[in-house]
Amino acid sequence: MNEKGFRNTIKESYGFDSWAGSISGEEHEFIWNFFMNGRESPGWNLAESMDYGVEKERNMTRYLWKKEKEEKEKEKEKEMLILVDVIETPSLLDSHEAVIDFISECQAPHLPEGKSHGIDVGDISFLSHGEPISSILFARGNLALSVRSVGSVDVAVDEFAQNVDYYLSEKPPPSDVEDTPGIEEFESECSCIRLHEKVALKIKVSDPLKGRLRYKFFSTGGKIIREKDTIFFYPFSVGKHEIESYVINEEDLACSSVTTVEVVP
């Protein structure tokens, strides 16, 4: 048996077909150029970001978080560390495949699903065995995340994961301060397409800080995918569909825009 065969058995035992491509809410979300900036979970410091590069259109980044110093001192120098692995994939389905990849690297025979234990994180989630919950795997939109305690003190990560998930899924309020990035153009390549066709979304932004920007796209009428460096909208139904875009800088200053695509039979 090779790795593909092993993955297939993992998929089967985790009922992959029953949840692959599904979302927890009504709205499809796509995140592009994701990065953590240290504000995601209060009480924790982002100690290090490690870029593991792109493999098969997936970009993997690891983030090591340390409990804030005061708390650490109370723990008498014991390590309280959370390691967050984020795989940014080109599509919702691919992020679920990445969850399988995470599971394939776990020796524990069957990780419990989050919802069965009352943990509502991401579109799909799996937990570690036992208490506290020191490890959560989940997918949100096109991102697959592994959040786990890796220090000498086992810490519960459910609250941390929920904070991160909120950060991923929230629609940030627009900022009106000077350094806020701006969306100069956001529109589809064609304003009217046929059902089952995809259309490229063009977005042009300005950034006074000239730093890193991350993007979020939301739509109820279809999914959003990335092919190489182009973002596409893929409608599910006929009608007029709105697509919202958000551009957020490293300071969490955000702007947004909406475009409409008409889908005909």
Partner: protein, 494 residues
């Protein structure tokens, strides 16, 4: 008209000049001055060509000096007897090949002159650089291609003047490839103040690399010819004690051709690693430089763990045992998740950071991490292990996982997969090394008493005997746990 003073015999003088400082050596060789000589003067007007000024700086014990006119007078209160005296003067102009000294009597009257002669400056030879890896296309006759870690290269020449610590000058040799070969190092020398000449140069001590026999080195324009001169390691002991990590020093010496006396040049310090053979993958010799060239940061641990071992399997066993007993890492008992290895990569830099007492990626590891660590460190020594899986989804006997001391069934059931450092085809009858857990080593691994056995060089399965599979896998799952040989890989390091 200039007064002519008589030339005195029985007194001689020599001097050297360095910058503006003149060291003057006065030798009284005859008793005939015992009652009349009380000192001497150095007068600018008596010099050829005349100086503007000269100042006294230092006089020998019982001597004094003072300014006279624009010159200096060195004197004693008692008559000078036989002996040798050194004086220091400051002259702010070019000094020719001689300095005129005017000898004085008790009344400080000039009684004669002595012409002090300039001494030839002593030659000096020094070592500038040493190349251990002087042929990056081969490791048969020199050291192999190495780097310090992911980010830092080892620059050739590995030793340069100024380097003091042995770890600043590392070199690694492959025992198998250098066996019965002529190994050389190359060194560059400089000579001052003369541009040409030839000298014998040798180096004493040298530890495992041995002393370097003397050879003639020619100099042109003050630099050795050729610039890097070869020295054969004729008395090395590479191979005698297997794997080594040794700090050595060479005491470099030189002597002029035709002379007997050896002069000290300099002592150089180096850290030498000896491995069994060319490191196996992920380590590569080519291309060079490259991030996958062997890292000294790994050699440091691997050679220490397997010190003196001469056999690959025994060396891998030592590495396995060392990894299993490492402080600061523990099995991830809640998920069994891979931490330092991921996909096709092994974050060796972060693991080394952890080994050094830093945070790294935390303390949690699983079997994949352990397999990556054991094979990567063993292969550095010239072993040839893979990281390969078995499985899938099988129940286990009680084991002791890394970082713990209690016997328990992992996850109260077993593993979805298990990964080890494995030999050859990673097939059933191939031996493996597992630093992740200890199995029960007695005849009945399914029940107490449990005798801890670290799986080292043990076949996965041999029909009719109790091998790794029987010790790890519960009887009910044995039919389902097989080598997943297609998963074998050697993760690249980063």
């Amino acid at each position: 008209m200039k007064r002519q003073n008589p030339i005195v015999t029985g007194v001689s003088a020599f001097f050297t000049v360095e910058h503006n400082t003149v060291k003057l050596e006065l030798r009284i060789m005859s008793e005939k001055f015992s009652e009349i000589l009380y000192g001497f003067e150095v007068l600018p007007r008596e010099q050829q060509p005349p100086w503007d000024r000269v100042k006294g700086v230092e006089a020998p014990e019982t001597w004094k000096f003072r300014e006279v006119d624009t010159g200096v007078q060195f004197f004693t209160t008692r008559p000078v007897t036989r002996g040798q005296f050194v004086f220091t003067l400051e002259v702010n102009e070019k000094v020719s090949q001689s300095i005129t000294l005017c000898l004085i009597n008790k009344n400080h009257q000039i009684i004669g002159v002595v012409m002090s002669k300039k001494k030839p400056a002593p030659f000096k030879i020094d070592i500038e650089a040493i190349q251990f890896n002087h042929d990056t296309s081969s490791l048969r006759n020199d050291a192999m291609n190495i780097r310090k870690d992911m980010k830092t290269e080892v620059i050739i020449p590995e030793w340069k003047k100024g380097a003091k610590r042995p770890e600043d000058s590392p070199a690694a040799y492959a025992l198998e490839e250098t066996k019965e070969e002529s190994i050389t190092i190359k060194a560059k020398f400089v000579m001052t103040p003369y541009p040409t000449g030839q000298f014998f140069i040798k180096a004493e001590d040298g530890g495992v690399l041995g002393a370097l026999a003397s050879r003639v080195v020619k100099f042109k324009n003050g630099i050795s010819q050729p610039e890097f001169v070869s020295f054969k390691l004729k008395s090395h002991t590479i191979g005698k004690n297997g794997i080594q990590r040794e700090d050595i020093q060479w005491k470099w010496k030189y002597r002029a051709v035709g002379e007997k006396e050896w002069h000290d040049m300099r002592t150089t310090a180096h850290r030498i690693y000896i491995v069994l053979r060319e490191p196996g993958e992920p380590w590569k010799q080519q291309p060079f430089p490259d991030s996958q060239n062997p890292w000294t940061a790994v050699l440091e641990y691997a050679c220490t763990w397997a010190l003196n071992e001469k056999d690959a399997d025994t060396a891998s066993g030592k590495v396995t045992a060392a990894v299993n007993s490492l402080p600061g890492i523990k099995y991830d008992i809640v998920r069994g998740s891979t931490n330092y290895a991921f996909g096709s990569q092994f974050d060796l830099s972060k693991f080394l950071e952890r080994l050094e007492g830093g945070t790294g990626l935390g303390e949690k590891v699983n079997c994949t991490d352990c397999a990556a660590i054991v094979s990567t460190f063993s292969n550095m020594l010239g072993c040839s292990l893979w990281q390969s899986r078995m499985g899938h989804t099988f129940r286990c006997n009680k084991v002791v996982v890394i970082g713990y001391t209690n016997w328990a069934v992992p996850f109260d059931w077993g593993f979805s997969y298990h990964e080890v450092a494995w030999k050859d085809e990673c097939a059933e009858n191939d031996s493996l090394f597992d630093a992740c857990l200890k199995v029960d080593g007695d005849n009945d691994p399914t029940s107490p008493p449990h005798v801890p056995l670290l799986p080292v060089d043990i076949p996965f399965f041999i029909p009719g005997s109790v091998k790794y599979k029987e010790r790890l896998v519960a009887p009910i799952s044995r039919p389902y746990c097989k080598p997943l040989s297609d998963t074998r890989k050697r993760r690249v390091v980063r």
